[in-house]
Amino acid sequence: MVFSSNIFLFFFLPIFLIAYFITPQKFRNYTLLLFSIVFYAYGAPDFVFLLVGECVINYFIVRAMGRCTDGVHTVSTKKKLLCGLSVVMALGLLLYFKYANFFMENLNTILGWAHHEPIGWMKVALPIGISFFTFQSITYTIDVYRGTTPPSQKLTDYVLYIMMFPQLIAGPIVNYNSVAAQLVSRTSTMEDRVVGFYRFVIGLAKKVLIANTMAAYADQVFGIAYGDLATGTAWIGILAYTFQIYFDFSGYSDMAIGLGKMMGFRFPENFNDPYTSRSVTEFWKRWHMTLGNFIMNYLYIPLGGNRKGKGRMYFNLWLCFLLSGLWHGASWNFVLWGAFHGLFICADKLFLKNALKKIGMLPSVVITFFLVAMGWVLFRVDTAADAGAFYQALFAFKGGLTVAGDAQFWCIFVLAIAFSFLTLVPFGQKLQDRIFADSYSKPLSWTMFAITLVLFILSAGSLCVSDFNPFIYFRF
């Protein structure tokens, strides 16, 4: 089940909210857990037991690990073993379900080169949300291992942390220590509920009204043989995709954050106007921030960070981005995408960031946006050869097949540009701060209420209109 579906908006959500709010405070976690299991079981019946089982086992492993006594300057071996076991279990599942197919395909390719028979294997289905809940599970283990937070006292609280439906499928990746206290005790004021709902609807509108419109155009462009594409259309296509991915992902994060807020959770922000970044390094501080934090805290720093010399730092950075790319999808184009960003992160450290700083805000934003958009080509296409062909279309400056966008596309395209770069001007920043505030004045709240209502109806209408295509009469 996805948030941007009628069954979620008109059945699951209202029934959940009413059930949740009429449940006495101390039992609300059970209601939320029950609905979260239903939510997951609806979309992934084959994997719900796997997920619950993994949660239960990990809970007891980490609990046992929490009972281990450390020396003054040493960590007990048992604790290390248990921590390793927990991480290996989480990563093992991820590697198996997400990367087994990729691994076997590549292995068979190599065997093919060596004129060996390919190894037969059954394709492994991917459990939805595995990339997110694996990382959340790791943050829990590591946080407890590091002593940042004690282990959860209740199994249900821990399972809830992993399976909470607002952030189960697509994040944000919530560190255990940031919500541990909220899992045990939290309050949601009436204002939180109202503001949370506004945030949810804004996210829904970003996804349905903007991202889907951009996607329809981008899909058409990327559906044409890249060699036949006119340069102008290729550019509009990649820009449409650039906005699609931002409004899609940030919209989903908004929905998750909004739903969390309605229940009294404070989920971390995941996006902070990434396209206004002045360098690729800054972009990664604004794009999918919870993933960036995870990579920083649970991969880059354990690898040594910048503490082991410059050479090692560049290697660590590049490796982090390679792995980050692979985390996004089990395919070489994602690895390339990660390498591409890793390359510019290293370049930033070497000279690029300073150079961009010197040329002024607008040029640096434009250059960074250009680099990011070029990166999205790798993210969108299937193979390196496709990427090459698309880059050629972008820079061949030739005519060819075009995709004519309609008035709706162009209007939304302009809106997407405006919303993406709004905060470059002080007025835009002020406006955004007011819209995404935690508290509203009375007139602003009514305005937001009206806007929310309109956006909700338009989003719902958009969701059902694509399925509705009647005939005037039946003909024989």
Partner: protein, 545 residues
């Protein structure tokens, strides 16, 4: 202040929850009256929850679709969204296959526009020759059916209903979807009109009449946002149709009395294309003209029995006319598939087609120009079969028949070395190509057979009872009679007789022979019908007074 704020937030929260719950309440109770969505669509059935369905995710996929089609308040939400799309972007999710959006908010049916641009031989676009031959064949069958029915006093005629694109081409968009581009530059509508005229099939071309009155009419002949003729134009067409029946059947029918005009927003089906958009409010356009329709109640008028086979245009007439006052019965065989306006039968399969046709006074084939490719939905074939024509596919016009005979004779000549030797000599002698000489010889042989009555006419079952010579002689005598009654023709024949030193009788016969031969060559000679079937029809089948 703090407490007021909390109360205020509580109010907003409750409001939001109520709004979120309205669809569920509506779905369970249907408490709010909502305008249903227009258009025909296949609803998704509610899936059955089984473990297998659930495990394979098929239940989830189906219930998603089902709930998307059935959640409460879907209709107003969809209309609101459509209105937003229409007002802001002039966009609609109705597919291009359903509506062409023309200039100044004029809507067209796409098939009609493509047909107008003569790009459409629907379903046969890839092979225009095949379609042309099928239409030609259909016309020949129709002519045969008309003759058979005429022999029983039943009048068959085709009503060529106008299409919007032909009457109002000025609003067709410059660059509409060009899906059909590259297909043959011929349209079934024009092809049929030619065939009907050439073969003498009774037909009433309302398109021409519409074009004549278009500029002077102070009412819309076609509604701006509908695909069918306007209700008022349909009423006037019905009046013309009745006049045509009176002329064809030589009868007097009740006159239509059309009431005073009133102007109003579109009434169904005048906005049928617009209805499909499912908007909150109507598209901006002038008001349409409407009027009530009665008859003059003439007690001496004839109330014929008619059968109408046709497309949806007839609805607009049938819904407005006092059918029972004008006709003894007027069943409507919609696309020759479903019966309407007939209490006797529920389905076409129940009735005896021959009995039904022969007991009628008029058989009307009423198809819109854009539906001409449908070839009457198989009615002609079915009717011929019901009337005893065993192989209606064998029906052909005289020109096609003569050509077939010529080809057969050519084949015989080519197979005979002796004949070929003689023809080669003739070709040399008259300075012709061998091919031309062969064809000329074959043509001479066929003509000789026709004149001598030794040619076997195509076997249209038992409907042809004369040999070719007798038939030709009959035709010649009929033509002589016709020429004699024409003073201008007689004057011309007299001049020819003097000029060529012939007797008047010889000149008259030669002229008649030429006319008959010409008809044979053109394929417009009507085949003879079996004498047995020319008997007057039984009294019970007569027109009711």
């Amino acid at each position: 202040m703090g407490r007021i704020k909390v109360k205020y937030d509580l109010l907003l929260f409750v409001l939001l929850m109520v709004i979120l719950f309205i669809p569920i309440i509506q779905e369970w109770t249907g408490v709010f009256p909502v305008k249903p969505l227009n258009g025909v669509f296949v609803p998704t059935t509610k899936p059955e929850l089984t473990f297998e369905n659930y495990k394979t995710n098929t239940y989830q996929a189906q219930i998603d679709k089902y709930s998307s089609e059935n959640f409460g308040m879907r209709e107003p939400i969809l209309r609101l969204y459509n209105q937003y799309l229409w007002d802001v972007f002039r966009k609609t999710y109705v597919s291009k296959e359903q509506i062409v959006f023309g200039k100044d908010r004029w809507f067209y049916e796409p098939g009609s526009v493509s047909d107008h641009e003569q790009r459409l031989f629907r379903y046969f676009a890839a092979d225009s020759t095949q379609m042309a031959s099928m239409l030609s064949k259909e016309a020949q069958k129709l002519l045969h059916l008309q003759q058979i029915l005429e022999a029983h006093g039943v009048h068959l005629f085709v009503c060529l209903v106008p299409a919007k694109d032909l009457i109002y081409p000025e609003y067709i968009p410059e660059n509409h979807d060009t899906t059909y581009q590259g297909t043959p530059k011929i349209s079934a509508r024009f092809y049929n009109e030619d065939n009907f005229t050439r073969l003498g099939i009774n037909h009433l071309n309302l398109e021409q009449w519409f074009l004549q009155i278009k500029d002077t009419a102070d009412f819309a002949l076609f509604p701006q946002t509908g695909m069918h003729w306007s209700k008022y134009a349909a009423l006037l067409s019905a009046d013309t149709l009745i006049r045509y029946m009176e002329h064809l059947g030589g009868i007097n029918m009740k006159n239509l009395v059309i009431g005073p005009r009133e102007y109003d927003e579109a009434r169904r089906p005048d906005g049928d294309l617009e209805d499909l958009l499912n908007l909150m409010r109507p598209v901006r356009k002038p008001k349409y003209c409407y009027a009530d329709c009665m008859t003059d109640g003439d007690p001496t008028a004839t109330k014929p029995k008619i059968i109408v086979i046709g497309d949806s245009f007839w609805w607009t007439i049938a819904d407005q006319l006092p059918l029972k006052e004008i006709f003894s019965r007027a069943p409507y065989w919609y696309y020759n598939n479903t019966i309407y306006y007939d209490d006797r039968y529920n389905s076409l399969d129940e009735l005896d087609l021959a009995e039904e046709l022969l007991s009628s006074d008029f058989v009307v084939l009423s198809y819109c120009a854009t539906q001409q490719y449908r070839m009457n939905d198989g009615f002609t074939q079915k009717a011929l079969k019901a009337l005893g024509v065993k192989d209606s596919d064998a029906i052909m016009d005289s020109a096609s028949f003569v050509e077939r005979e010529i080809q057969r004779t050519i084949a015989d000549i080519l197979a005979s070395p002796k004949s070929m030797e003689s023809i080669r000599e003739k070709a040399k002698q008259f300075n012709k190509t061998v091919e031309k000489a062969v064809r000329d010889d074959a043509k001479w042989i066929v003509n000789y057979k026709i004149q001598n009555g030794t040619l076997n006419w195509p076997k249209h079952d038992d409907y042809i009872a004369m040999d070719s010579a007798t038939f030709i002689e009959c035709e010649i005598q009929r033509t002589i009679k016709s020429l004699k009654s024409n003073p201008e023709a007689m004057q011309s024949i007299r001049e020819k007789a003097t000029k060529y030193n012939k007797t008047l009788d010889k000149a008259l016969r030669d002229d008649a022979l030429w006319v008959v031969n010409h008809k044979i060559q053109q394929g417009t000679l009507k085949w003879p019908v079996n004498n047995n079937d020319m008997n007057p029809k039984p009294e019970s089948h007569g027109i009711q007074q």
